[in-house]
């Protein structure tokens, strides 16, 4: 314990926990809507597009976070413009993703040939939370607060449009605009998440806590709070295990991904235990319809 507290004297440890905390909260909140809107693949694609942005920025010699933000927002706009609803959407996302990955590979190749910086590429792929700078934390904090504020402002219409887009459209909610705004928001948050856990592991913080929370709690606000709590638990747990864990220094990303998977798969049987209760009490038709939609049909 004494050793653990002693760790916090180092500024890089402080930075890691600070950045991890910010990202865990924002990712868990946005992730709630990602799961609700069935956009896990979009999140994954944006994270990999962030890889291309980060690599490109490194080649150009600017910071990786601005590069990621540029490319992910651009890609989000492209996905929103090209994508139809449902079936076609995955293909458009996939095509943009594969092009971005091609670019990322190109940038990484150029970069690793301009010197022996192969580890920088690995940092982008798997995160570099231990070398986060205070400027990056500041950018993360600002964009994270703005994202949370936006979500708070849009909360009700976004929730409505996510749970039942048809009904929301009929009631005059600007569903398309909301979906575009959400994609941009997702782009920003994904870029931040990539900073912490890397492009390949971003889904661990973006989707796993929210998906677990939605299995455990039905009411939106409860699920949202639970999602944030789980996100923090996973991030702090991952960081702590990496710092004081067994033997040699194992990567933070591994612990975060493993904890996220553990929580998610532990929650699977819990949902099965709970489901029968839904059918016992006859509900008002309106509520029943809404709860059905909430399950993502």
């Amino acid at each position: 314990m004494q050793d653990f507290l002693h760790l916090f004297h180092y500024s890089f440890v402080q930075n890691a926990y600070l950045a991890g905390t910010i990202v865990a909260i924002v990712a868990a909140v946005v992730g709630y809507f990602v799961v609700l809107r069935a956009q896990a693949f979009a999140g994954e694609a944006l994270a990999d597009i962030g890889l291309a942005g980060a690599a490109g920025a490194t080649v150009l010699g600017i910071g990786s976070l601005p590069g990621m933000l540029c490319l992910t927002i651009l890609a989000a706009l492209g996905m929103g413009a090209l994508g139809e609803r449902l079936r076609g959407r995955d293909i458009e996302i996939g095509m943009i993703l594969s092009f971005a990955l091609g670019l990322g590979v190109l940038f990484l190749t150029i970069y690793s040939q301009s010197g022996s910086h192969a580890t920088t590429g690995v940092n982008i792929l798997f995160g570099s939370i231990l070398s986060v700078t205070s400027t990056e934390i500041l950018i993360t904090l600002c964009s994270g607060s703005i994202s949370l504020l936006l979500i708070a402002l849009l909360f009700r219409p976004l929730l409505f449009a996510s749970v039942d887009p048809e009904l929301a459209r009929a009631r005059g909610v600007p569903v398309l605009l909301l979906s575009m705004l959400f994609l941009i928001l997702l782009a920003i948050v994904t870029a931040e998440t990539v900073l912490v856990v890397g492009a390949l592991l971003a889904l661990a913080l973006l989707v796993a806590p929210a998906a677990t929370a939605q299995r455990l709690a039905r009411r939106p606000l409860t699920a949202l709070i639970l999602s944030v709590a789980l996100g923090l638990l996973i991030t702090w747990g991952g960081l702590t295990l990496a710092f004081v864990g067994p033997g040699r220094h194992l990567p933070v990303g591994f612990f975060i991904a493993a904890l996220a998977a553990l929580f998610y798969f532990a929650s699977l049987p819990l949902k099965r235990l709970r489901t029968p209760r839904r059918h016992t009490a006859p509900t008002h038709p309106c509520n029943e319809y809404r709860s059905m939609a909430g399950r993502g049909h």
Binding site: A40, F99, L101, L201, A208, F254, Y264
Partner: protein
């Protein structure tokens, strides 16, 4: 201009690349029809972890690739049908596998280069023996697809109807995912784990935007896949610095984008026509077997 093709390195690369492009295009078409795009992205990433684990244990990376992708393919096949839940589960499994891959590689000294070669592929420099292995495995996969072709196509387009007609839909889906896993393991050495996705989705997505008939779309996808790979390898060899996968991805996106933007011009009308044709055919089938169409549950139950 064509001097390059005299080098055995390039010849090997072209041979292996074209074979992989053909099966990837076919599997990609089914992937799109079945709505499993995300699985096509996740499986290679999961394979990456397997390859890393095999490297750590001192085995051939291909063994790890096969073990992890086939395992994950079976896992995904057993997951629920509901798209949202399936995608989330695939995402969590994938990140966990990637985390494991990271762990394996960090335990293995000098890991950065290994990461690159598995993630980004090394087709230029592939050995004669690898070409032979690729050829045998591709032929086997192709044969399996041909054997399963009709039921697979039927169950991909209309799973309820296929089930009603007594096809083992679940088993087919499992077999498809295992075949997909094999294809992906083969393709890793060609384009790398990150860009297999391009060869799977790119040609098939463009082809299915151009024509809605499955056979024409499949042939077109194969043609496109071969040309992307061929051109990609040629351009990369000419350039000498930029990677093959970049060229393939750019070609595939560069062709897809105009097709996608212009496709409403011809697809709107044609798709409608195709749909009515399909409906008519379905009606005909239903007429032949009315009971099956009207009461799928009862029919499926009695046929088992």
């Amino acid at each position: 201009m064509f001097d390059i093709f005299q080098y055995p390195i390039i010849q090997n690369a072209l041979l292996a690349g074209v074979m992989v492009a053909v099966i990837a295009a076919i599997m990609g078409y089914f992937l799109i029809v079945r709505g499993l795009t995300f699985a096509g992205h996740a499986l290679p990433n999961i394979g990456f972890a397997g390859a890393a684990g095999a490297v750590l244990l001192g085995l051939d990376p291909v063994i790890g690739l096969f073990a992890f992708t086939i395992g994950a393919g079976i896992g995904i096949g057993l997951l629920g049908r509901e798209v949202n839940e399936r995608d989330t589960s695939i995402g969590v499994i994938m990140t966990f596998a990637l985390g494991l891959g990271l762990l394996f590689l960090s335990l293995y000294a000098g890991y950065a280069e290994r990461v690159y070669s598995i993630l980004f592929g090394q087709i230029i420099g592939i050995s004669q023996q690898d070409v032979l292995i690729t050829a045998i495995a591709s032929l086997g996969t192709l044969l399996a697809i041909l054997l399963l072709f009709r039921p697979l196509l039927f169950s991909s387009f209309d799973p309820e109807m296929a089930q009603a007609r007594g096809l083992p839909v679940r088993l087919l889906s499992l077999a498809f995912l295992i075949l997909l896993a094999i294809t992906i393991s083969l393709a890793v050495q060609v384009v790398g784990a990150l860009l297999i996705f391009t060869l799977l989705i790119g040609p098939a997505a463009t082809a299915s935007r151009i024509t809605s008939s499955p056979f024409r779309a499949l042939s077109l996808a194969i043609l496109l896949g071969i040309s992307y790979t061929f051109l990609g390898i040629y351009l990369a060899a000419e350039n000498g610095v930029w990677p093959v996968s970049f060229y393939i991805a750019t070609l595939s996106f560069g062709i897809y984008l105009p097709v996608r933007l212009l496709s409403p011009l011809w697809l709107g009308r044609r798709r409608q026509r195709a749909r009515t044709n399909a409906d008519a055919r379905a009606d005909e089938r239903a007429g032949r077997n009315k009971l099956a169409a009207l009461e799928p549950e009862r029919f499926a139950g009695s046929s088992r």
